[in-house]
Amino acid sequence: MPTPILMPALSPTMEEGKLAKWLVKEGDKVASGDVIAEIETDKATMEVEAVDEGTVARILVPAGTEGVKVNAQIAILIREGESLDDVKVPAAGADASAPGAAAPTAAEASPPAKPQAPAVSTARHAAREEATAPKPTAEPTSAGAPQEASSGTGKERIFASPLARRLASEAGIALEQLTGSGPHGRIVKADIDRALSEGIAPKAAAKTADTAQAGAPAAAAAAPSAVPTMSDTEIRRLFAEGSYEVVPHDGMRKVIAKRLTLAKQTIPHFYLTVDVMIDELLKFRARINDRAPKGEDGKPAYKVSVNDIVIKALGMALQMVPDANVTWTEEGMLKHSRSDVGVAVAIPGGLITPVVRNVESKGLATISNEMKDFAARARNRKLKPEEYQGGTTAVSNLGMYGIKDFAAVINPPHATILAVGAGEKRPVVEGDEIRVRSVMTLTLSTDHRAVDGALGAEFLQVIKNLLEDPAMMLV
């Protein structure tokens, strides 16, 4: 019996993703373990391996399709002795599981997903065939699968009249949320009118797949609904036609927009700034790097950067000021025992924050090498979701761009984020004299629900002290 290949879940909370690339085509033979496709979520690209061996009979979801639900059939494999005629192409929109069940089944299936028996999808396919067969007696014409296409089962083509589309876009209503009452489940003006009068929340609060932070649910639930925004149409009207190009957002951009807007809307930020004298730090770094043992290829075993030391200092400071190593939830304050430090890495088209776990128990060389590996894989979008989710704080460094200081946006579920500026020689007053010192400005953004002013100041002071006297990180 032909085996369906299903869309795998790359994380327990993943609901849908983009089928970025097929590495096989119809007719290719595959063996167990062969990589057959690449799946993209907001920040990472994962490979899908064939679990069984066989021949790729049919590719159901073209490369580049977004919004493919976890467990949706993406291809069909046939084995020795089976023929292509056995292959029953599922009805448009039919999944192997009901849309609502995507989350629990995803939790069970770890990537790559094992092919499941297609009993449900073929049964549904057969039912649809019956429903649409012409019959002399009454049969509801709008029954069957086509209605699902516009009832929010993901980013399959949504049928809506031109007027309805425009009205929805101007009102900020996501068509995916609506069920159409028009022919073949088409969304029509009446549906938009009804949605507006019944108060369906505009896109800002719509539930879209969020594959990033696992601890986010509390913050997400608290997100305000009808925040007035300019619609796309209103914005475009401000610019001359033809003077701009519209570039669709990729998954990463969408998540950045969503999460940071959420952060700014729900987290009461306040900011603390301090200047750190880093002459000692620079000497300390030079000493460590000079004594790096050389490997077989002549390369040093490590090359610690200032940022690596900042990561370590931040991690140690969280242990020294445990009240700052927290996350706010409605129910209570989560007091973390580990220092997991997220580190912002700029990549083409955006940024991602891989998390160095247990910084308190890692040496600088380990931290440094981990960061190098993270950065390289981040640029290729090959980080696994568990590598960039969670964390108890974060650090963002724009010093390499000569930025003196800046205030970063807190990434939920953290309570703090440390913004690091450029280290530069500055005139400094010592006693009554002016000296030239190497100075680096740090700004700590703090969630006032979790960490108050004095506590934040204390925390920042500890960080500063550790950076000015790195040996104290060993105590």
Binding site: P136, T137, A138, E139, P140, P162, L163, A164, R166, E170
Partner: protein
């Protein structure tokens, strides 16, 4: 089932009745239609169809009289009134046979006689005063249509004062004619008789002719008709008629003064009323109001199992409205998912010369409804095909909701517009905005390009003007 028991009985076989019967049969119902006079009802026999045949003769006669404009010669141009009428009757006859054939093909039983309800579910048929059978049906659809309304003082007498029945089959073209009422029926007859040589006067009580049409369009039509020699008096009523042996003198009162005109014949075209009498409605809980049967959007009356569609169920009194109402009614009975007709998407056409066609809100009604509108206008003179045809007069007007780009109304006057309006109707049904219409490629050279230009004009982007 016995011979007298059906799933559905339809009383009346006009466009509402026969179309519903065919659809009913398609849906698998055992269907019968009861017809007292002629299959196809008024539309086929004494309305839509024969008038179009008459108007076609008039149109060709008109071209023959202007043959020189096209480089042609035609001398001794004339007509035989009886032959013109005969052609029209033949067209009706042919279609009448056609309906009989369609009903037979769909295995619909045709019962000859007058059907009357006797309580829900029972229809008693009489023919020439005698009992012609009693029939049972789970569903009875009343599609008895409408007849000319009579105003006091203007009672038709079949001789001097005509209804459309008499106007359809004149023995000769009267020398002079008074047409009372300037709706589609009145104007079409006015146009026909004028082209065929009568001196026509039209009297209308409303301030504009074609009262349901957009004022600007009706105004253009009026000028064109007046240029053809038709005298039009609006805002006036016929106070009284004085009949002589072969002529009628009418007193026309416009509220300020009166005038008298004497004509050979009068056509009373003051509207129609539903045929709600003597159909047995009183044996049921069916309610009527202002001369029509009260129904919901699916043709259901206050009596379960009894339905009403078409003219007898109220305005607009249009054949295509009756057809769709009937189909919606029977599909609802069959359990299909249907929606009531959107009255704003029913087009209206008038086949005088120039033709008038429209759908949706007029400019006035759109403003009244509170819309901030954009109006596009494109005159026939800007269209190559119109000029090539020798029909440079007319206008295509489109009305959009400024906020959403929704097409609220389309109104046209000029040659062939009755064939063009369907494009706008389809677009409205698909919930178009101006963008889709602008992107639609209309063929060149056609009159339909004016539809495109009118939309462009609404947005300040007209090309050919």
């Amino acid at each position: 089932m016995s011979d007298t028991s059906f799933d559905v009985i339809i009383i009346g076989s006009g466009p509402g009745g026969y179309v519903t019967a065919i659809r009913s049969a398609q849906l698998g119902f055992r269907t019968a239609v009861v017809e007292e006079k002629h299959l196809g009802g008024i539309c086929l026999n004494w309305g839509c169809i024969p008038t179009k045949a008459l108007l076609r003769s008039a149109e060709i006669y008109h071209y023959m009289q202007h043959a020189g404009d096209y480089g042609l010669t035609a001398s001794n141009v004339g007509f035989d009134a009886a032959a013109v009428v005969k052609r029209s009757r033949n067209v009706s006859g042919q279609l009448n046979k056609g309906v009989a054939h369609l009903l037979k093909k769909n295995k619909v039983t045709v019962i000859d006689g007058r059907g009357r309800l006797k309580g829900a579910g029972t229809v008693v048929v009489t023919k020439d005063g005698r009992n012609a059978g009693t029939y049972q049906a789970k569903h009875v659809i009343v599609a008895t249509g409408a007849r000319p309304r009579t105003l006091p003082g203007l009672e038709p007498d079949k001789r001097l004062v005509w209804t459309y029945f008499e106007a359809m089959v004149p023995e000769k073209i009267p020398g002079s004619l008074l047409v009372v009422g300037s709706g589609a029926i009145g104007i079409e007859f006015a146009s026909f008789y004028n082209t065929m040589g009568a001196k026509v006067t039209v009297v209308e009580v409303m301030p504009q002719i074609l009262p349901v049409e957009d004022a600007e369009i009706a105004g253009i039509a009026r000028k064109r008709l007046e240029k053809q020699g038709i005298k039009i008096i609006t805002g006036a009523k016929v106070a009284s008629l004085k009949k002589a042996s072969d002529s009628v003198t009418a007193v026309i009162d416009d509220g300020k003064s009166t005038q008298e005109i004497t004509v050979d014949r009068v056509i009373s075209a003051v509207g129609v009323v539903g045929n709600i009498e003597d159909v047995g409605l009183e044996t049921t809980r069916v309610k009527t109001e202002r001369g029509v049967i009260v129904t919901d959007g699916f043709g259901r009356t206050d009596e379960p199992g009894v339905y009403a569609i078409g003219d007898v169920a109220g305005p607009p009194m249009l054949a295509h409205k009756a057809e769709h109402e009937g189909v919606i009614c029977i599909e609802k009975i069959a359990g299909l998912d249907v929606h009531p007709l959107d009255k704003l998407k029913i087009p209206g056409c008038t086949y005088c010369h120039p033709q008038v066609a429209s759908v949706g809100l007029t400019e006035a009604k759109a403003k009244e409804a509170g819309y901030d509108i954009r109006v596009g206008r494109f005159p026939f003179i800007g269209n190559g095909k119109a000029i090539a045809l020798g029909e440079p007069e007319g206008l295509v007007k489109t009305i959009f909701d400024k906020a959403t780009g929704q097409l609220l109304g389309a109104h046209m006057v000029g040659a062939e517009v009755t064939e063009l309006i369907q494009g706008f109707v389809i677009a409205m049904n698909l919930e178009t905005t101006e963008a889709e219409l602008m992107h639609t490629v209309f063929p060149h050279p056609t009159l339909s390009e004016m539809m495109h230009e009118s939309v462009l004009d609404a947005y300040g982007r007209v090309i050919h003007m």
